[in-house]
Symmetry: C2
Subunit: 341 residues, 2 copies
DNA sequence: CTGAAAGCGCTTACAG
DNA sequence: CTGAAAGCGCTTACAG
């Protein structure tokens, strides 16, 4: 070691290798314009010295940080965390780091806050989780600021390079198919909140499937929810108290399905004997309530990984994928209806 | 505006204000060595120009990034997210950002990985969540690298400036007190995993309380869990199948309590009529299972905020706090035992 | 394919 | 209390 025990810089590498630091910079940045011999010599010195390029210096010179941002607002905690894990899978061995930024969808200053955040942190790119991923103004802001972005959604919200999407609509169709195969004909729906694309997609999937099976959906068989547990209790209550109550309910997410289970229990309606329930998300609660919930699970971690790769390694094969099929997870909350109807 | 539409730099501010950039730097860094008039003039120019110091440049010059790291391994998703929210509460209006880093407690390379991460990112400081917060080698590593750190824990793991702690032991005592007041005398314990300080504290709290009440704890009234749902099912099964089964079980976390509920249901043991259950964490599942779980809740978000403040604003009053009392959340999973025993 | 010079936007001693 | 010079560790045109 020529220098002391300080961490080595590009200058140390250049000196030891007997080249200019520009040349070292070229191997760091994987420039093609470099002779193989030179590259190998420099790589050896880098390994020998244990040199790691200083990201702060690169960030300053490049006017760009090696930071990915995760923008999210109030989604399911497990979803956020699984997504984070996926992102980390993609960047763990790179120089990138992940910065998280919860935002407030209801604040009128949200876009300004995000603008300021992007301006200040000079992020390499951002990953946007639903529901704010559905905000087209936000995507436009990212483009305007020269910040890469990938949106996670329930449908193809943008070009393939800017989206990782699940197929919610199809999945709800297959959930309804399953209920119909199990003998249900009076099937209720608890919708997610207005303005959420996922809620829309799931409701559309439901209506489409019912139509396909020639089944009627009475207005009283549809209730509005907010994706929160409490709204599931209330909405299911409405369905269960209506005359001619459904023998099965599709809930647009697991939280509301858990609420529906409470509503049934309060009325001494046994699940699944007297009522079948299907949720959506396959969040941990689905497996931990009683009866364990039949639901739709999507590969969130993989989606997070692919989303990050779209930003940091767009040429990578795994970065090409934009569609991520969800699948039905059968547990114990669905049974044949006690009385065929 | 003197310059074009580029974002203004410290030079622009200096020029417009008619001072040297060093002086501008002084007001940015809140140096005391500056005349009030000068400061106010410069502050006016800063506001006028909409100047924001470039964090990358500061990071390079200071050899220190304005980034806080969140190190965690496999804890409850909601805990991580709530903690993140708290941290963001503390740094939202500052130049700091939060970088997340899940780590693998079981990897032999964990400390090396973290060392490399700290070296590369030059973090301002890290926030460490349990269980890895209990790793003293990790804390030593942070000190060695000159990286600030704050550990979250179930007990005072370190000096006050390096800890935000809950009082798990006391809280479990009061949970047991509550069971005893409700008439229970045969109370079982499902422990958390070996090597977790929180598991130890909770078990100690349990044993201490039982001793205080002069109640015996038979070996068959204690079962080992892992903090996972499935382990709760198994452990509760053991307790419920033992002769002279308990009328109440304290579970060292909510996941296992949910598992215990399953075990009871499988045996047609009604909760709370035939069996009372108390959990720990007050995670969302606690309120969403049936019956809603009596549990111990701790102020995670506040702890996150205080932890971040200890790093970024140690003089702040809220940064002084190191102890955060949890409290018993009474719901429906506890009742008087059907038969006094 | 390689290099010398200038620059990214700040801060740090050192003077005064 | 304020400033001129040098430096943090990289990259970017521009030459050659």
């Amino acid at each position: 070691m020529a220098s002391s025990n300080k961490t080595p810089t590009i200058n140390d590498v250049a000196r030891v290798a007997g080249v200019s630091k520009k040349t070292v910079s070229r191997v760091i940045n994987r420039s093609a314009l470099i002779k193989k011999d030179t590259r190998e010599k420099i790589e050896a010195v880098i390994a020998d010295l244990g040199y790691v390029p200083n990201p702060q210096a690169r960030a300053l010179a490049l006017r760009r940080n090696f930071l990915l941002g995760l923008l999210h607002d109030n989604p399911n905690a497990q979803t956020v965390l699984n997504f984070q894990e996926g992102v980390l899978d993609a960047i763990r061995t790179t120089e990138f780091a992940l910065v998280v930024r919860p935002v407030d969808r209801h604040s009128p200053k949200m876009l300004d806050d995000i603008r300021h955040f992007l301006e200040q942190q000079r992020l390499y790119g951002v990953l946007i989780l639903p529901p704010i991923s559905e905000n087209d103004e936000l995507a436009a802001l990212c483009r305007e600021m020269g910040c890469g972005y990938v949106r996670m959604g329930s449908a193809m919200l943008d070009d393939e390079e800017h989206v990782v999407a699940s197929n919610d609509r199809e999945m709800v169709e297959s959930a309804v198919d399953y209920l119909v195969e199990s003998g249900h004909r009076k099937i209720g729906l608890i919708k997610g909140p207005e303005g959420f694309r996922s809620a829309y997609e799931r409701a559309e999937g439901f209506m489409g499937a019912m139509l396909k099976h020639g089944l009627e959906v009475a207005p009283r068989a549809i209730a509005q929810g907010t994706y929160r547990f409490d709204s599931g209790v209330v909405a299911a209550g409405e369905l269960l108290d209506s005359k001619d109550r459904p023998t099965a309910i599709f809930c647009s997410n697991d939280e509301m399905a858990a609420g529906a289970l409470h509503a049934a229990r309060q009325r001494d309606i046994h699940v699944p004997r007297d009522l079948s329930i299907i949720g959506f998300d396959d969040s941990p609660i689905a497996a931990h309530i009683w009866p364990p919930l039949t639901t739709v699970g999507w590969p969130i971690r993989e989606m997070g990984k692919a989303a990050a790769l779209k930003l940091v390694a767009p040429a990578d094969e795994a970065a090409q994928r934009a569609r991520f099929p969800a699948q039905l997870v059968k547990r114990l909350s669905v049974a044949r209806p006690a009385v065929e109807n």
